[in-house]
């Protein structure tokens, strides 16, 4: 798969070198692409990879092909690969691939693999050159969920209603399903956390039993099946030029299943030396039905070279088997200003709560976790420099309090720290 990524990178680079302008068209097929490379380093806590030591595992490459088959029918496909710590690993995927039939401005249809319009920026999150910041606010655009909530396979109805002097309304309705990668941290992290919890529980339960030595875990398989996904988005373009408000909602049923084994070791009572061990293996399977409902409300105002935006997100999880619910919530405020053709500056403040009913994380202490794992407050500032039409360089600093979005797996060795700073650099070429 690494080789495929290499070929994709070489193809994009060669096309970039030979392109004289933005995009190229051969036999009516438009070809466009982008490639970016970033660097992450944090003072504490590994975030989105092994950032404490500095991580270059932060890149994106994409190339797309589009052709108008008839006046109303268009076909297109984008190949994409990315790496962000344990996410993506430069595996080449079909980012989107669709047939788009435009009938009227108020009613059109797409079928295939379609990007998800969640919030204002989810569809464009792979394309670094479209925004000032390097990382989108994680309270609404969570990176570990990105592999799952990027695109669906199904169909979409969309269009726009002109309301004359009252502005216009854009709508988008999508129905379909999602193919998930069991190695994605969104799936793998909770699985490994469950395995560790089961091993700890067994250890504490057996510790008083004479001859008990320890419990080891053997990982097995895990997967998430998305039965269906429905996404609705409405955006109201107000009569005030550049000001829009919107709302998106999605609902999905997931099946989270897997298995693992626990190896329990006792000393052999028949062996007086105590050196021989008797082991028993217990294979454990689990199956959870999960309902996820989420909504995002959004606002964006573009006035000349100033862009202001704010969004708030609520994500409600319901786990059927244990009849337990949880509400994750977050919001951000963002401002970006383009000083001239070359330089832009941006800043945002983003807040994420892992459990809306326990914003200070105090309930986590009883579970042996830190209270600051219940929230993450992130103040970020970014400088963007457009070298020319094709090349962008960015630098960003995040001052962070809390670790709600920090990966359990990436921080097994070192204890989490509440206050930390993340530095990010990124450069992108596009054609």
């Amino acid at each position: 798969m690494r080789n495929k990524f290499k070929y994709l990178t070489i193809t994009v680079s060669l096309l970039f070198v030979f392109c004289s302008g933005f995009g190229q068209e051969y036999f009516g097929i438009g070809i466009n692409g982008f490639a970016s490379q970033g660097y992450l380093r944090s003072t504490e806590n590994n975030y989105l990879g092994k950032s404490k030591d500095g991580s270059f595992e932060f890149n994106e490459v994409g190339i797309n092909f589009q052709k108008n088959l008839t006046e109303n029918l268009r076909v297109g496909l984008q190949l994409f690969a990315r790496d962000l710590g344990s996410q993506g690993n430069d595996e080449v995927i079909i980012d989107w691939a669709l047939l788009d039939y435009k009938w009227r401005s108020f009613l059109n249809v797409r079928v295939g693999k379609i990007k998800l319009p969640i919030g204002l920026y989810n569809e464009e999150r792979d394309i670094d050159l479209l925004r000032t910041s390097i990382l989108l606010p994680q309270s609404v655009y969570n990176e570990p969920q990105r592999e799952v909530l990027s695109a669906l396979e199904g169909m979409s109805l969309y269009g726009s209603f002109d309301m004359k002097k009252f502005g216009s309304i854009d709508y988008n309705i999508l129905v379909g399903s999602i193919s998930t990668n069991p190695e994605a941290p969104f799936i793998k992290d909770p699985y490994l956390s469950n395995v560790d919890s089961a091993a700890s529980l067994a250890t504490s339960g057996l510790s008083a039993v004479p001859g008990f030595v320890d419990v080891n875990s053997l990982t097995g398989n895990s997967k998430v099946d998305v039965n269906h996904l429905i996404v609705l988005q409405l955006v109201y373009n107000t009569p005030l030029e550049g000001f829009k408000i919107g709302g998106s909602y999605y609902e999905t049923d997931l099946e989270f299943s897997g298995d693992f084994a626990l190896v329990t070791n006792f000393t052999n009572p028949a062996d007086p030396s105590g050196t021989s061990i008797i082991s028993s293996i217990s294979k454990i399977s689990f199956f959870n039905e999960i309902t996820l409902r989420s909504g995002v409300v959004s606002m964006e105002y573009i006035w000349k070279d100033l862009t202001l935006s704010a969004e708030a997100m609520l994500q409600a999880w319901w786990v059927e088997n244990i009849r337990r619910d949880n509400e994750v919530a977050g919001f951000y405020l963002s401002a970006s200003y383009q000083f001239n053709d070359k330089f832009a500056f941006g800043a945002y403040y983003s807040v994420l709560y892992e459990d809306l009913g326990n914003k200070d994380g105090s309930n986590l202490v009883a579970l042996g976790r830190n209270d600051f794992e219940g929230f993450q407050k992130d103040f970020a500032i970014t400088g963007r420099y457009d070298v020319n039409e094709y090349l962008v360089i960015k630098a960003e600093v995040h001052i962070i309090n809390g670790t709600a979005d920090v990966s359990y797996v990436d921080n097994l060795v070192n204890p989490l720290k509440e206050d930390w700073v993340l530095f990010a650099l990124k450069t992108t070429i596009s054609f």
Binding site: G21, F22, G23, G30, N32, F34, G62, N64, Q66, N68, E71, N72, R74, G76, Q78, W96, A97, L98, D100, K102, S105, R110, I114, K115, E123, E124, D126, I127, L129, L130, S160, D162, S168, E241, G242, I302, D305, Q338, D341, E389, S430
Partner: protein
Amino acid sequence: MMNIKLKNLYIVCILMLGCFISATSQEVILIAHKDIGFDTIKSKDVKYIFLGKIRKLKGVKINPVTIKSGDVHDRFLDLYIKRNSRQYSKFWKKILFTGKGKPPKSFKTEAELIKYVASTPGAIGYISKLDKAEGVIQLKAKD
């Protein structure tokens, strides 16, 4: 004496401003293929056409075309689209890279654009001078 000089300067400034406004308002001329079937167009429709929201107007399939860069392009975007060239380019890159469509065909020179509009039914574009625009008609924009 000073008052007279100031008054003269004021008049000169007003005249220059008047010339400037007159010049800039004439900088953008909307043109279309000669068989397009109408010669006036609402400013709002121009905006929707060049943002890809409208594909047909008065029963005619519209094919918008742009100039890659330059004063006439900037002026057109400012007058009709209410965005600058960077914002307009970003708007279409978003459409392009998210699978939602293709941007209008663009040309380096006005001569190339005129030639395309003249030979393509439904084509609409903009230029700075009508002098050498053969085979096209001028569209008058109204609010």
